[in-house]
Every structure is written in structure tokens, then in C-alpha cells.
Subunit: 221 residues, 4 copies
Amino acid sequence: MAANRILADHGVLDGYGHVSARHDRDPNRYLLSRSLAPALVTISDIMEYDLDSNPVDAQERTLYVERFIHGEIYKVRPDVQAVVHHHSPAVIPFSVSTVPLRPLYHMAAFLWEGVPVFEIRDVAGMTDMLVRNPALGRALAQTLGSKAAALMRGHGAVVVSSSVSGVVGRSIYLQLNAHLQAQAIALGGPVTYLDPEEGGRVDVGGYQRAWELWKRKTTAQ
Amino acid sequence: MAANRILADHGVLDGYGHVSARHDRDPNRYLLSRSLAPALVTISDIMEYDLDSNPVDAQERTLYVERFIHGEIYKVRPDVQAVVHHHSPAVIPFSVSTVPLRPLYHMAAFLWEGVPVFEIRDVAGMTDMLVRNPALGRALAQTLGSKAAALMRGHGAVVVSSSVSGVVGRSIYLQLNAHLQAQAIALGGPVTYLDPEEGGRVDVGGYQRAWELWKRKTTAQ
Amino acid sequence: MAANRILADHGVLDGYGHVSARHDRDPNRYLLSRSLAPALVTISDIMEYDLDSNPVDAQERTLYVERFIHGEIYKVRPDVQAVVHHHSPAVIPFSVSTVPLRPLYHMAAFLWEGVPVFEIRDVAGMTDMLVRNPALGRALAQTLGSKAAALMRGHGAVVVSSSVSGVVGRSIYLQLNAHLQAQAIALGGPVTYLDPEEGGRVDVGGYQRAWELWKRKTTAQ
Amino acid sequence: MAANRILADHGVLDGYGHVSARHDRDPNRYLLSRSLAPALVTISDIMEYDLDSNPVDAQERTLYVERFIHGEIYKVRPDVQAVVHHHSPAVIPFSVSTVPLRPLYHMAAFLWEGVPVFEIRDVAGMTDMLVRNPALGRALAQTLGSKAAALMRGHGAVVVSSSVSGVVGRSIYLQLNAHLQAQAIALGGPVTYLDPEEGGRVDVGGYQRAWELWKRKTTAQ
């Protein structure tokens, strides 16, 4: 999956995080790598899961502990075809702040419905902060609701889209918007955010123009 | 065009943005790539446009939606030979802030007349934020006036110059000045900007010394 | 030692700093390179020291002046198998600030007991700031106490772990947490830190998943 | 000269700036490249100048306009064997701020005597900001006094040392200290700077350990 390597190249994924896609012929299945650093994933590492996040054919491979993030979102969001969970450094500060992440950049207009923060303490008290069971996955999917992305306090984010290129582009521009917003706040004056109506009108076409570049760059390495 | 690749190397252009040049024999024509990520542009992608931004020979190629930025500026600014539209991350925060971008660095002295911000809402209300018709292009050209650069709120910037090396250098140093100004503000004390008279005296010679380096680096990759 | 090169790749180590490991068969010995920039260390540069930081077989090689950091920590911390001393730029600001470095990111949960700051002036008054004798090493080890890391004012940090992959991962995520905390503070609102109980529950498994990636990347260069 | 390339690799020098060294057999001469981007300088570009900054044998080569920085400093500072003039982005903000650059990091202890700012307006009113004649060079040398570095308002810095490796190391750590100080200030609490007495005691040995690494890295490219 090119998506893993593109996101690693952009610093969205480091040694952790994962990208999944809904099965293109069976909407009740999704595809996700075995437990591995994203940049190392190859085609033979991809596994098939049902929406309860049970592997169809595990073959003694180690599974991502947090695979429930993916399955529980696919269950309640039929529009979603791809999911990324990542630890992008630019978004973490907003996950631990009372200052909400809001879109100010047209390429991040998909955030116009807002970016909720998932606080695992509200759901399960003291934990190791991982979404390690179906109940936590469901709670995260509920926080996400109909939106394009949610932050996870002190942990990372989850981003969804109707395509793999879309979820990759959204992950990159979520990160960039967070960076830009932090810089705009630091200038000291009030910040002009996108109007929700503007947000709804922007159509980036699944980031296809950039996707061609990202794939080319990743292959060339 | 080396300009596309140099600006991509400097992070001024990502998967989006575009560089144009006025035709060297016909001032009523300009050259601009077909719709493509700038780093991928080769000589065969360059198209010729009239100043109404109609392609002279389209050959079914996809056009940049925002080509009107270029045509409308060439119409009213006979001194301009090259135009860049970009989304440089360092300048976006100033496009959504009440804090004006101002030159404090001698290599960015070309900003001494000020850097206006184009607010598309003032011209057309709620849009998808793209300069997708001649009227919006004219409004942007009007905001730019006689200046070297204008910001576009929540979107990016447009930079003009009397040469391609000049517009590339100005794009790079606009970005650097934005970065330096943000850092100077963050230190907390008052900031000393260039005096307009200093600004008018600085002559960087089209950034020729740096241009040789940038071209060399880009070719060597 | 891959650890030297991985930490150099991540910008934790520059031309200075050092990584040591307790001898795997003799707990009263430790292994540390001769005095050399970390990125240049090869297997033949590794020397063996006793816990008083005397080389077992010096062979006229130059020793790191600050080797006492390692020996004195191994003496009082039998749980520690690896030590890094580094000058990571992200942590230095916290070493000279009254704002304490605190974990807000789950991968840095190992900091849950706090991150003390070693002020060499309190121990020895005016010095050249280097831990250049056993007494200074003991004082630093005392500041560290039972914790995973300590900062050294205006100088750097020391990080310990029960394994080499652990000390490398902790160095990288100490740096990242410092960076994230600085950004979260800059947003202006209150910051939610990890609850110590969460900190105690997180188990990153010696950063093994990331370690595989880091080693692969370093070898591929 | 490796120094040019090392400083370009570290982002201290971009397309501009220059490094000189006093002639090792004639203290009334110094060596400096013809006008060229530092990263492109090769041995055949090096020219010899007298201390009035007249070239010994110009051969129709273009000279750096600001060569007087070097000559006038060598005249009044017999202890200085190497000079760098650079535009390091990290130091520019301090050159336009009322907040003084001060050493907080032991590798930048050489700044313990303070870092004066050269305001060309005080000397010559409105100019193009370049040190383009002997009088401006003398004024800058006077601002520098006995110190290791001076900032030039809205322009850059000049750094001096008793060796080439020293001036390269000082340039790199001047930049790093500026970066660290900006971050420490942003944390919001008071900042602990080096005590001048500590500053005077630190001896980095001409940055020899790092110099070996920097040279190796630059050659390997």
C-alpha cells in the first residue's frame, strides 16, 4: 500500500499508526497490515478482517492492538472507505489543549464540521490509553460521529474518507492545518477561520493532483 | 521550467500552485503548465495562453482552474514578466491574521510597499475560495495593485517580478521573511522593520547569485 | 552500535553525546565508545569500563570526559542496562526554564514520575559545566534518583532504560514530548498532561516495533 | 574550503554569506572566494586580499561587495584568524528585537561577553544595508569590539575565531543557541542563562570532535 509509505514520508506516520481500506467487493470486510511499522508494510503483510476486527485468516501473525478503531468506524459509517490512525506531532498539542483545532486553510476545508477530541478517561477511566477492545472502538466512533477526523487526547488522531487518496490527503492537510493554526495563534491577533459554508463548497477532488506527486516521490526513493 | 522544481525544493510549492512567464516575443501571451503538480512539470506540459486565459491550443489537456490569476495580472501590470501562485505554509498564518506581513530582512526588501491581503468574501461572498473566473482574477489584481506580492486569505499568495529568477527569489524570501517575522514577534519585544527608504534602495540583482545555486542543486538531484 | 547512528539520524545526538550499555556478562562493567562523534562510532571504537569509569584496556585512546555519567548511574541503578547522554535541542529549553517538562504523549508515558533538572552550580559552583569527575557523576545520579530521565541545565539530558532499544526509544520520545509540550503551551490554554496512573499503565514493549524500522532505515543509508 | 560547504549543509549559509581566513604566512593578507554562492566555492575561486580588501590579483573576477567586513576586522583583531558573515535565519529575529541574544547552552558559551547588534542606520542613515565600503566595515568592527560575534540588524551576523574549525563551530552553535533561546522564551517562565564565569571556563577545543563529523558528512555527499 502506497498510502503507508506516503504518510511516513510526510511525517504523519512514524514507527506507529496504521492505514486501512474497506474491502472493495465485500463491505463487511476491511484490509489492514499485520502489526508492523507502516513504512515497512508490503503487500504480503496485508490481512483481511471482519467488522468485529477478527482476522479472517490470522496465520499466527501479530495483530495491531488498536484494530478496533477501524472495524467500529466501518460499522457505523457506510460512507467511509478508508481509515488512518496516526500520531502526527502537529495535531497532538490540540488534543491536550482547550483550544479547538479549526480549519483556516482551504485544503483542510473538510474539517468544517469541527474536530472532536476523544477523551478515553471519560469512557474508561485510567487505562494504557490504547483502543484495545470493541467498546473503546465504539466510543471513539461515536465521538467521531459524521465528521472527517477526531483527535485522541495525548495519543493521536483518526481520519476517514471515501477513498484511500482522500484519507491520505486529509491526513496530510489535517497536519498542515494544525501547524498553520498554531503559527497564526502565535502571531497574537484574532484568526479568521473558514466559514462553514466555504468549507462545504471546497471540493479537492480526492487530492488527485497531489496524489500523483506523492506516489511518484515515494516510488523514486 | 527550472522554476517549478526550485520552488518545490524550497517547500514554497507542494502538490499545488503554479509558475507562469509572459511570452518573450508576444506580450499578450503567457506560458503556464497544464494542470499538474509543479514538481512533475516538464517542457512538453507548458501551454500558451492569451491574456483572457484562453489556451491557444488546448489539445484536450486539463487547465489549472486558477489560471485567471496570471492573465488578469499580466493585463494590468506591463512591468510583470513572471507570476507565481503558491500555498507556502509560512505565509498562510499572516493571511488569516490581523498582524500584517512586513519586511524586516534585507533580502525581502521588495515588500517595502506592503503586502495586501485578498479577502475573496468581500468580492464574492461564499465560494470554494478558488480564483476560478476572470472577475475574481481582476479583483485579485486590483488588490495587488503596484506591489510585489499579495496574500490570499486562507489560501496562499501571489508574487510577481520582472523576471523568472526574480519571482522565484521573491517567493523564497517572502516565505523566509514570514518565518522570521513570526519568530521575532514570538520573542515578545517590539520589532524593527525595514524603513521604506531602505526597502527602495536594496537591489538584489534578480537573485542571480542564489539562482545559480538553486539551479545547480535542482539539476543534481 | 546501531543506537549511536539511530539517535544521530533522529537529531537527538549531534557531534556530541554518547550511548553506553552495561556488559551483558559482567554487571560491574559497561561498554562505551572512545571519544568520537556518535555517528562515526564503529565496533572497534567500543571500550570496556569498570563502574569507576576506568578503562579496562585504554590503548592510548582518548576517553569521553563525561564517562562518569554512565559509571555512577550503573552503580546505583541495578535496573539500568543502558544510558544515553545527549544534547537534544528540544529538551534544552526546559532545562533553563521554570516550566517543568511533563508527559502529555502516551509514547512518553515513561516520564510519569517527573523529569528533574540537574543544576551543576548547586553542586560545584562555577565550572565548565561538564560532568568531569566521579563526584559530579554521583550528584547527577542522585538527581536522577529512580526516574527514567533527568535534564542538565544548559547542557542536555541523561536517559536510562533496561535495554538499548528502550533507551533509544525513550531518548526519541523525550525529545518529541518536549517539542509537543512547547507547542501545546504556545496555543495558550491549559494543557492536559498524562495522569501518573495512565503513565504507569502504558507499556511500549521496549519500542520494538519502531526499533525494527529505525534499524532498517539506518542500515539502508 | 570545507567550511563553506559545512555551513551550507547546516543552513547557516544559503545562497549568500562568506567565510574568510587570514593568510597563514602573511597576517596582512586574507583569503576569500570570488563572488559566488558558498556551496559552489572550489579551491580555484579563492582570492587573496590585503587588509584594505583590495584583491592582490583580481583577474577580472567579481568581488563580494561586503568584503570590507573581513578586512576591517582582521585589521583591529590580531587574535582573529577566520571570519564568517552569514544570514542564519535563527539569528535574524534577535537582530530586529529588543530582546538580546544571550548564551544559555554550554556549546555557545563563547557568547558570554554578549552579542552586540550593528545598526547601520546609526552610522550611515538610509542605505541598501550592505557593508559596501571601508568606513562601514570599520564601524561594524567597532561594534564587534573584543567579542566573538555581532548581529547586523535585519541582515545577518558576523562571527570570528582563532581558527577555521572554530568559526564554523561558533556559527553553528550561535544559530542553535538563538533557536533554543527563542524556544525557552516561548515557554513563558524566566530563563536561566550561562553565568559569564561559566562562559569563560568552557573550552570546546575548537569543536574538533564535531569538525571531524562535519567534514566527513560533507565529503560523503
